[in-house]
Symmetry: none
Subunit: 147 residues, 4 copies
C-alpha cells in the first residue's frame, strides 16, 4: 500500500489567507483554489470582485501545478512551439483542464507534492505573487510547528 | 469485408513491461497506455508515483499515434504555427483528445498499424524512450515467435 | 496533514487477476478498471473481446464506487425516481461520469476506502460477481500478508 | 494477435441504401449512420429533410448497438428504473454517447458483431424499421455472394 501525505482543511485555510493578504496589498480581488495531491479541490475562495472565468481557471492552475509538480509559468515556457523540451499542446489536453498560465504552484512537504494552489483574476505576475504568498504562508506554518 | 489485425492482451502486457523496465532505468514512474488500431484502450498501468494528468495524456498519446499512424513528436513538429505541412490546430481537435506531445508511437505489423502506445509523466524525451522500449519489446516478441 | 492509504500497482494487479479468473469462469471477456481512493486510474485491462463502451464504463464504475464509498448497484437503487433516499439524477452528474450500474465496488482497508474496482461487459450481475472476485483477491492477499 | 472482421465501404453503402428505400416508403427523411465493430463511423447520410439532432443521435445509436452488441430498443427495456437486470443509468454514460432509443442495430457475420447501424428522425418504431431494412440489405448481399 502507498502512504500519501495530503493537505488538510486547516492548512488550506492558511494558504488561502496568505494569498488573500497579498491580493489585498495589490488591490486585486482574486479567485484562489487549493487542491490536494491528486488535483481534487479542498478549498476555494472568490474574493468580492473576483472574475467569473477565474473560478475555473484558478482550479485548473492548482490542478496543473499539483499534477505536473511544476509551477504553471514554467510549463508555459516549455509549451512554446518548437521549444527543445517540447510540451506544446499540453495546454489543450484534458478538455482544456491543463492550465499553463502563471499563477499555479505545487505545495510540497519533505520533497513530495502534497497539493497545489492556483490564483486567477489579475495579471499572471500578480496571480503568481499571490500563489507564492499562499505557499509561503504554508511553509511558515510548518516551520512554526517544527520549532 | 475488411480483415483487421489488432493487438491482443498478451501483447499489450509485453509492451507495457518493456516500457516499465525502461522507466525504472530512468528512475521516472510513468503512466503507460496501449490502444488497439481504432484507438480504444486495451491496457493501462500507472506505475506508483505516475502523474495524475498523465493518466489521460498517455491514453491520448496512444490514441493519436495509432490514429494518425505517426509518432506524436512528429505531429508536434508539423503543428508549429507556420510549418510548411501545417497541422497547427490539430492539438485542440476532438475536445483536446489529439495529443501532440512526444511519447506516443504507433505499433505496426507487416506495414499496418495494429495499435499504439502512449507514455507520460517524464519529459517528452523520456516518455518517448519508454514508448520506444515498449515497441521494441513487441518487435522482439514477434521475431522470437517467427524464429 | 492527512495521511492517506492508497492501493499500489502490485495490489491493483492482484485485484484485476481475481476479476479475470472469475470472468473466464463466466465465459464473458470483461473490461476491468482499478482506481485509487481519489478515483484516479491505476490499472486497466480489456480482456480480448471486452466491449468498447465498457472501457469508459468500467472506469466510471470504479470512480463512482471509490468516491461514493458504496457499491454502484446500491447507488442504483437509491437512484430510482421517488426512492425515499432520493439520489435520482446523480447518474447524469459530472458529465455522466457517475455510473450507477452494478459492477463497481469500493476497496477498503481498516475501514477506510483506499480504491475501487469497476467491471463492465456482461450483465450487471456478472460484472458485480467479477468485481467481488477482485475485492476477494485483495482481501486474501491482505490476510496472507498478515499471517 | 486478434483477427477482426469489419464492414467495408461497399457494404456500408448497401446498408444505407436499404434503409433509404424503407425511409422513402415511410415518407420520413432519415439520418442514417453506419459504424464499424469499434463504433467508429464508416458512412453517414442525411436524407434531404433529416433532422439536425438526428445527425448525432443516429451515430450514437449505431455506436451503442455495435458496442453493446444489442438493439438499442432492447437496452432501453433493461434501462427502466428498477428493472431486474438493471442498466438504468447507461443512457447518460460516456457523456451521453450511449443512446438507448430504438433505431440502432448491431450487424453481425458468423456470430460476431462487425458493425452497427443507427437511424433517427422518425418515431423509434420507424427508425427501427429502417435500421432493420439496412441490416436485411446486408444479409441479402451476403447470401447472394455465398450462392
Amino acid at each position: 500500500m502507498l502512504i500519501i501525505n495530503r493537505l488538510n482543511q486547516v492548512e488550506a485555510k492558511f494558504i488561502i489567507e496568505g494569498a488573500v493578504i497579498k491580493a489585498n496589498k495589490l488591490g486585486v480581488p482574486m479567485c484562489i483554489s487549493v487542491v490536494d495531491e491528486s488535483g481534487s479541490l479542498i478549498a476555494f475562495e472568490r474574493m468580492d470582485g473576483g472574475k467569473i472565468h477565474s473560478i475555473t481557471l484558478s482550479q485548473d492552475k492548482a490542478f496543473t501545478a499539483a499534477s505536473s509538480r511544476k509551477a504553471t509559468h514554467e510549463v508555459n515556457q516549455a509549451c512554446i512551439p518548437g521549444h527543445e523540451n517540447n510540451l506544446f499542446g499540453i495546454h489543450t489536453a484534458l478538455g482544456g483542464r491543463m492550465c499553463i498560465i502563471g499563477g499555479g504552484l505545487p505545495i510540497s512537504f519533505e520533497g513530495k507534492v502534497i497539493g497545489g494552489i492556483g490564483v486567477s483574476s489579475g495579471t499572471p505576475k500578480q496571480d503568481l505573487a499571490c500563489a507564492q504568498a499562499g505557499v509561503d504562508s504554508f511553509n511558515r506554518m510548518l516551520s512554526q510547528a517544527a520549532s
